[in-house]
């Protein structure tokens, strides 16, 4: 196993090098492409940190959805000839910025290297809670997200909703209610359509699978939802599906369903289990899967709507 440390060091150097490239690249588009590659490499680092759930999230979001978001943004800016802006700071400012950044990075490296041993951990408490009554989840991270720190997760879904509304709100008044602009203006190639026709259904199936096994194995609502979102975006890029009108009632209901169901079950917990966001003993697992199913729906709809951008009056069908 002596090659593993070498591989780790190689991976670490590669990640830092690609990150440096996204900062140093002259061209906006090159830096965006660098960032997409960086996201995928980072997923490997997460695997090495024994964090498969985060690796899945990072690959789906960092590499996938963020990639589409940034590439689309880069192309739209390109079309507007707005990829350049003002002169950068002068040499002196650059040196000051570099010194400050080096100082922060150095201090952080020192702090990380001197974290206490043995490290404090909530893993024993989480294990005890998972073994206790009313639990029944094999994946401790899902248990943290949906049970022990349910309040965080519910509020974070509202953050997603606010982001969707914030994005819509920068659109024009007279476009309100209409659909966002398509991800690609041009008619797609045959290859793209073929890819979408084959990949999207398989990917969607895998997304549902990742959500379903997430209770006991790596995966979960967000990862599954993000994969479904990515497949919807593939279909949108191939113009097999169009983004819905933002005024559509069904879209609104799908977007709020995750946090709304979570909040309702959380409130009901006060009556059924004696505390807000507590689950009645014996029903924890089915209730958690029930909440997660709606969160998958919300995530799968919210992410593509965020990438698609504000409503665009021109693309009215």
């Amino acid at each position: 196993m002596s090659v593993l440390p070498l591989l780790d060091i190689g991976l670490a150097l590669l990640v830092v090098a690609v990150a440096a490239w996204t900062i140093a690249a002259r061209n906006l588009f090159a830096s965006v492409l660098g960032y997409v590659a960086y996201g995928l490499l980072l997923a490997l680092v997460w695997v090495r940190l024994h964090a498969p759930d985060i690796a899945l999230t990072e690959a789906a979001v960092g590499g996938g959805v963020t990639g589409v978001l940034l590439v689309t943004a880069g192309k739209r800016l390109d079309a507007l000839k707005a990829t350049r802006s003002g002169a950068g700071p002068g040499l002196r400012e650059r040196i000051v910025a570099g010194a400050l950044s080096a100082l922060v990075a150095g201090a952080l490296a020192f702090v990380v290297a001197s974290l206490p041993t043995p490290a404090p951990s909530l893993a024993p408490q989480a294990a005890a809670a998972a073994a206790g009554p009313g639990a029944g989840l094999g994946n401790p991270i899902t248990a943290v997200l949906i049970s022990y720190r349910a309040f965080d997760t519910m509020l974070e879904k509202i953050v997603l909703l606010l982001a969707v509304l914030g994005i819509w709100s920068v659109g024009a008044d007279d476009a309100w209610g209409s659909a966002p602009a398509p991800l690609r203006r041009a008619r797609p190639d045959g290859a793209m359509v073929l890819l979408a026709r084959i990949l999207a259904p398989i990917g969607a199936l895998i997304g549902v699978h990742i959500f379903w096994v997430g209770a006991d194995a790596p995966g979960g609502a967000f990862q599954g939802g993000a994969l479904l979102a990515a497949m919807w975006m593939v279909a949108m890029m191939a113009r097999l599906l169009e983004a819905p009108r933002i005024g559509s009632r069904a879209l609104r209901l799908a977007l709020i369903s995750g946090p709304a169901v979570f909040l309702t079950v959380g409130l009901a917990g006060n009556i059924l289990a004696g505390s807000f966001f507590a689950f009645p003993p014996g029903f924890a697992k089915p209730l958690i899967l029930f909440i997660e199913a709606f969160m998958v729906l919300s995530v799968a709809v919210a992410l593509p709507m965020m990438v698609a951008g504000p409503p665009d009056g021109e693309s009215k069908p």
């Binding site: 190639d189 290859a191 793209m192 073929l194 890819l195 084959i198 398989i202």
Partner: protein
């Protein structure tokens, strides 16, 4: 038996790695984008296929082995389509 399986895995994964290295060399050394694409897609498809083939005997159960094959098939599909798309963009750029 297990020695034989190990040898098979070693040979197949080794061959896969060789194709990856060859493809990467092509990516770095070939003169223009189309030939680079050509080198890369060969390496990916064949190299990954060999790696998957080598790993199948080491899978814990048939389902895991099937997953490996599915991974390869998905990469084949997306690799072939993206190569196609990039190729078309390049051709359009030349015209």
């Amino acid at each position: 038996m297990s020695v034989l399986a190990d040898l098979f895995s070693l040979a197949a994964v080794g061959a896969g790695v060789f194709f990856f290295i060859a493809g990467t060399a092509g990516l770095l050394r070939f003169p223009d984008s189309l030939t680079r694409l050509h080198a890369l897609s060969k390496a990916d498809n064949l190299g990954l296929g060999l790696v998957v083939l080598g790993l199948i005997p080491r899978a814990e159960n048939p389902l895991a082995a099937l997953k490996l094959v599915v991974v390869w098939a998905l990469v084949l599909l997306s690799g072939a389509s993206t190569a196609q798309l990039i190729g078309r963009v390049l051709r359009r750029g030349r015209e």
